[in-house]
Amino acid sequence: MEEPKLEAAITENVRLSLNGDKEACKKLNLLVRLPFSSIEKLYGTTEEDYYALNTLASLRLKMFNDKSALAFLTSAKNPLREIFASIVGLLKL
């Protein structure tokens, strides 16, 4: 059987964490130790991947005030920037 791709595994972990899976939260606790600029490079480009990536950026921003996470969330290239604008807005206050 072919191994799952890393980006797919990360997206799945974000999804499971949001669904309350404790084991997946443990994996996210590890993942957010990497700078967002590196996490971003691991990523796929499906819609669900983008939702996962924005969620991770929001987490990194909240937990570590990561500037590259902020840059990603506010970037014109981010198709979900409007959805996640409330996260950035709240932190700017």
């Binding site: 990360i10 691991l42 987490l59 959805i83 409330s86």
Partner: protein, 308 residues
């Protein structure tokens, strides 16, 4: 504040985020996730354990991924990526974990009591053989290779061939029901002796020997490193007292490696799954063991000169 939905793994991130957005509760959702994630911290010790259990091939693969994303590969980062893809790394040895945990639960059997029991009670039919290596045994392999082959010996995988032979021998003799163990304290003692010479000028341990030993532990899985058995001052004092009593030598002192080996013996006997049906073979040239456990009926002491 919205609660994260429970046990609904079929909901996508998009569905969860959009619902929170509609209810204007996205910041609360992220805050809740942050709390959940923050609670699930993994200790450095756990990370080290996980790293040890990742195969070399996997480590190499993950090192390349890390380089690709511009990260300097470290053990921690390798574990981070490994966990994402593979799930929790199964600890390679449940026996070890259970023993170590059990030891912390109550007051352990005293060494004196254990040795008394071992001296009096004849061993039952052996179901499992635990082979434990002492520092001096590995020293003797390293020293011997220099005596016989001179400088060329440093290019020969002496430690690997010695233990590979032992592994095959015990495998055949016990029908696979055995283990070869090195404790953390013995491993640390060897590292401390790096490039130290004995009284005849031979190296006791070398970087080449260390790399061979690591190969046996991490790659070939011939020897198991018992990380829970490092320094233990209290047991060391207890054993030193016992040694003074047995040898009538007021200056007798038991080393860290010896202490860790006998602690492992005790824990395997008291908490291990084979109970009194386990037999121990300590590979050692050290006479301290002879004074302490030489009369024990279920402990065999094998020096490098002996054949097992």
């Amino acid at each position: 504040m919205p609660k994260m939905p429970e046990a609904k793994p079929k909901r996508t991130i998009k569905e969860i985020v959009q619902e929170a957005k509609r209810q204007q509760k996205l910041p609360a959702l992220i805050e809740n996730l942050r709390k959940e994630v923050d609670e699930k911290r993994i200790s450095k010790e756990e990370m080290r354990e996980m790293y040890r259990d990742i195969s070399d091939e996997k480590k190499e693969e993950l090192n390349s991924v890390l380089k690709l994303i511009g990260e300097t590969p470290t053990a921690e980062k390798v574990v981070i990526l490994h966990m994402q893809k593979e799930g929790p790394v199964k600890k390679s040895n449940k026996f070890r974990t259970r023993l170590y945990k059990a030891r912390t639960l109550g007051k352990p059997l005293s060494m004196e009591r254990m040795i008394e029991q071992f001296e009096k009670v004849p061993p039952k039919e052996t179901e499992f053989l635990s082979v434990i290596i002492d520092t001096g045994y590995i020293n003797s392999i390293v020293i011997k290779s220099q005596q016989f082959k001179g400088k060329e010996a440093l290019d020969e995988p002496e430690v690997i061939s010695a233990f590979s032979r032992l592994y095959e021998l015990f495998k055949e003799r016990t029908n696979g029901k055995f283990e070869i163990v090195i404790t953390q304290a013995v491993y640390d003692e060897l590292n401390d002796q790096m490039n130290e010479k004995d009284d005849k000028g031979a190296y006791k341990f070398t970087s080449k020997a260390l790399s061979e030993l690591n190969d046996l532990i991490y790659k070939k899985k011939v020897i198991r490193l018992e990380t829970g058995y490092g320094l233990n001052e209290e047991t060391k004092k207890e054993l030193s007292r016992l040694m003074r009593k047995k040898s009538n030598d007021n200056n007798a002192c038991v080393g860290d490696g010896d202490t860790s080996i006998l602690t492992y013996v005790r824990d395997s006997y008291v908490y291990g799954e084979y109970g009194d049906k386990i037999r121990f073979t300590i590979m050692t040239p050290d006479t301290d063991f002879k004074s302490l456990v030489g009369k024990c009926k279920n402990i065999d002491l094998v020096s490098p000169q002996q054949t097992v």
